[in-house]
Each structure stands twice: as C-alpha cells, then as structure tokens.
C-alpha cells in the first residue's frame, strides 16, 4: 500500500504474535561480527561523528561569549527567527493536513488513490533544487494562477510546506491502519458522534505518531536549503534562512562563525532525534 519511504518511527504494525527481539536481545558478539562492527563504526565515525563533532568543537573555540555574539548578530538572529518561526507554522499545518491526508488514505477508498499515495512521496524523492524550480513554475513570476510569491516570506513557508509534506502522513498512516475498529464501533453504538469518536478514541492512539511526524517535519523545515535557493531570493533580514546564513559564512571563509550557527541547527536535530526515539518506544509498546 503505502511506500513509506520517509523518515519516521517504524512502529511494529504487523500482527505477528511471536516475541520480537528488542534492542537488548540477540547473539553475543563473535570475532567476525566484532570486526564488522569495528569497520562499520570506523566508517560511521570518519563520515558522520567526527565531522559533526568538529562543528561543535570549532564553535566552542570562540568561547561562550564569542558563540553568543555570533548567533545574536542582527542578521543571523533574524535568519534563525525566520527559520524556526516558519518551521513551527509549517509543522502546525502539517499536523492538521498530514493527519487529514493519512485519514483519507486509510479510511476512504476511491479511484486514483494510488496516485495520491505517490504524490505524497514526491517531495522526498525530488532533488531539493528541482523542488524550488517546481514551486517557482506555479507560484513564481509566470504563475498561471497569478500568485507570485518569489522573493517573499510566503515563499519560505511554501518551500518548507512542500519538503515536509510526507512526514506526518507517513508516521500516522500505519498507526491509523492498525487501529482496532471495535472501540470506535462500540462508542458509535452508544451514541457518540463521529467527532466525539475521533477526539476520544482515535486521536489519543495516534497522538504519539502525530508528534513524531511533527518533530521530523520541524527538523526538516529548519534544515532546508536547496528548495529556497531559486524561490526565496535569500534577502537578508527578509527571506534569508539559517542554512543560507551558514553558507555565506563558509563562502567568506569564516568557518568559526559558520560552525557557531550550525551548532544551533545541530542541537535542534539532536533534540528531535531524542524526541522521536522516545515517541517511537511509546508507539512500539502500544503496538
């Protein structure tokens, strides 16, 4: 059914009654598997862990006051405010629209539904620079709708909305599909309205999934760069987002400044990872 290629917690949704190995179970390490783990960890460290550590170490070299001065620089602070504010707003829209889309995909049946399924995954598979161009062709200077948002703040909102589309849908969809319908039917037979059934029975079960999807969607929005390049114009104080600010520091050979702002984004990513990990555990326990 769904492609589910988007990042998100993977709740165990199949009805397999066998006990499943969780993180603590499994065989003890053998010599060969130990070697494999060593090689894998070496590559993971060289590629991901050491470089990300380098960002934080470089940012800390200027000391707390230097770090604070860099991120409270007027133009940088404006970029961070715009990025976080817009990402929050987009996440809010995704919570509503994502849940709605997941609902329609799971509970409704109609012709062309599979096309909708595929459309959900387009923002994930489409290169971000192409996403910018795609949005520009409908909401840019030559818009057939007469809506031109290029180089304005709504462009940032639109770009974030496009790239974060799959997250809430793909985390909520499998949970919704596995929900036990008997409780809903019982509630309805006792006279509960459809809205009451949704609010009292369905919503509590899918809230962790919505929250996990929202966290991922927020993280994706905050870190977005590619789709904005052609769409938002990157005007300082107006449409310049945090990633663009980091890039201009890199291009001016100010790696310390870039690292300081990057640390802000990294902290947000880490908070999201931890949040999703906690929510995922809650989902699995419920499943």
């Amino acid at each position: 059914m769904s492609v589910a290629i988007t990042a998100g917690p993977r709740p165990e949704t199949d009805a397999d009654p066998r006990p499943r190995s969780d993180s603590g179970a499994g065989y003890p390490m053998t010599r060969a598997s130990g070697l494999g783990l060593g090689v894998a960890m070496l590559w993971f460290s060289l590629l991901v862990l050491i470089p990300l550590t380098a960002v934080i170490v470089t940012a800390s070299e200027a000391g707390w006051s230097g770090f604070w001065r860099t991120i409270t620089n007027e133009q940088t602070a404006a970029a961070i405010r715009l990025t976080v504010g817009t990402a929050l707003l987009v996440t809010l829209v995704n919570v509503v629209m994502g849940t709605l889309i997941a609902w329609v995909l799971v509970r409704d049946r109609f012709f062309g539904q599979r096309v909708l399924e595929m459309l959900i995954d387009v923002p994930f598979a489409l290169p971000t620079i192409v996403a910018g161009l795609v949005l520009l062709s409908l909401y840019g200077p030559k818009s057939p709708l007469g809506i031109n948002v290029a180089n304005t703040r709504p462009a940032v909102f639109l770009a974030f909305l496009f790239v974060t589309l799959p997250f809430v849908v793909r985390t909520v969809q499998p949970v919704l599909a596995e929900l036990d319908r008997e409780a809903e039917e019982a509630a309805a037979s006792l006279g509960a309205s459809r809205f009451t059934v949704f609010r009292r029975i369905i919503l509590p079960s899918i809230t962790p999934a919505i929250a996990a999807g929202a966290a991922l969607s927020f993280a994706r929005g905050v870190s977005e760069y590619g789709s904005l390049v052609l769409l938002s114009g990157n005007l300082p104080h107006k449409t310049e987002v945090t990633s663009v600010r980091i890039l201009s520091s890199i291009e001016n050979d100010n790696l310390e400044g870039a690292a300081a702002v990057a640390t802000v984004l990294l902290v947000i990513s880490l908070v999201v990872i931890v949040t999703v990990d906690i929510l995922q555990r809650r989902l699995v326990r419920r499943g």
């Binding site: 590629l47 409704d108 290169p127 161009l133 795609v134 390049v229 931890v274």
Partner: protein, 277 residues
Amino acid sequence: MADLSVHRGPDRRGPGTYALRLVVVAYLFLLVAWPLYLVGRNAFANGFADLAALLTDPDARHALSLTAQVAVASVVINTVFGVGISLLLVRYRFSGKRVLNALLDLPLSVSPIVVGLALVLVYNGRTGWFGPTLESLGITVIFSGPGIVMATAFVALPLVIREVVPVLQEVGDEQEQAARSLGASAGQTFFRITLPAIKWGVIYGVVLCLARSLGEFGAVKVVSGNVLGSTRTATLMVEEKYLNFDRGGAYATAFLLALVAVAVIVSITLLRPKDHR
C-alpha cells in the same frame, strides 16, 4: 442510527467523507501535482530543443555523468554498510546499540549545509583536522571527487538501514540457525539464506538511496567547489543555468532529475507487495 455491520469496507460515507476527500485532493494538486506538471511543460516549451542542447553540451554531459558516478559510489558504500550494520543491530547484542540506532538516523535531520561544513572542517587541505595529512599522502577530499562522494553518502546513509532492519526482524533467524547447524559457513548462510530473504528490503533501500544521491544539492555545493566540467554535478547545474538566464537548460535538467525521482516512486509503489510495508 448508523449501520454498524462489522464487515463493512471503508468508512460510512457521509458528506463529510467527500468534503475531506476534496480537501486532500485539492491540497496535493496545488502543492505537488500541478507544479510538477508545469516543470515538464516548461522543459518542452521549445519542443525537444532544450533537452537536445543539454545532451550535446560537453559540460552538461560531464555534470550528468559525474552525478551518475557519485550516486553509484554512494549507493555501493551505503548498501554494504547498511546491510552490515542492520545485521549487527538485529542479530547481535552489544552495548551502546540504542544510541547507535538513534545516531544512524541523524543524517536525515541535519541540514545539508551543515553536512558540507562538517566535512570541510575535518577534510579541507589547509586547516582541516585530517585534511593536511591526507593531502601529504596525495589524497584531496574537499573540492574533488572523494568529498562529493562523502557528502552524498552522508545524506543518504540511513535509507538502506531503515528498509532492511524491519525485514530482518520480520524474517527471524530460524532458517539461519538451521543452515548453520547443518554446517553452512557464515558466508554461505548470508548469501544463500539471509540475502534472498531480505532481497526486497535491500532493493527498496538501494532505489531510495539512489534517488537521494542523485538529488543531493546543498552538501555537494559546499564541498565540491562547483568547477565547470570538473566538480559540477547535475543539481548544481540546475542552479547555475537558472541564475544565468538559461531557463530552458535549467528546466531540461530539472526534468531529467524529476523523471528519475518519479520513476523511483512509481517502481517502488508497483513492486512492493501489497501486504508488505
């Protein structure tokens, strides 16, 4: 009172159902379908002229082939690493597993610009942590091929793992144990039992990893130096052409990239068995 028969199909159909359906279809049409269609139309605004010009321009061909090579390298690295680490995560017990599991998802939520910056800080030849040492050994990472491959491999790292881990958990290890007890070596067990069982998970992972690798832009922009005919990839070319008012060339390149993305989605949707998420 509403019909409460247990064996009904979809939800009770009221006006609400149709309203929701309409809202969702309109939203996805305006946000995804229509803009995507317009890119296709713009790419063929001059017939096949733009596409033909692109495919005969040596610099453009170099960019497309560089993108293909980098994507293949990233897919090979991430597949070997991804299948290996998935086996370790699912089948073995070691300390720090939960932390590693969470960290493996980190590349999905790190900004591509931060990925590029992180690699530059460690591997640039002047001030990087390892860069000068590697340079003295004759290996240039930043502003050259290895840097582009690393940036691409970084952003696509979790995709194979995310597909393979649930499949490995699902198939269990009874067959592997049986093979081992009958005297099969670890290699035989892996290639004859485990790999065929997780085949589809690996294939989806590879396809997704390929799409992500072909499309990487921000991280590559930071580490590549964007040198025409040398380190300029297809996504960098889209930006360059658009900003230099070669709209036709930009749309033609974007069309090729979008075509791959759509092909990936369609093939996965059609290939994946319905009972198998």
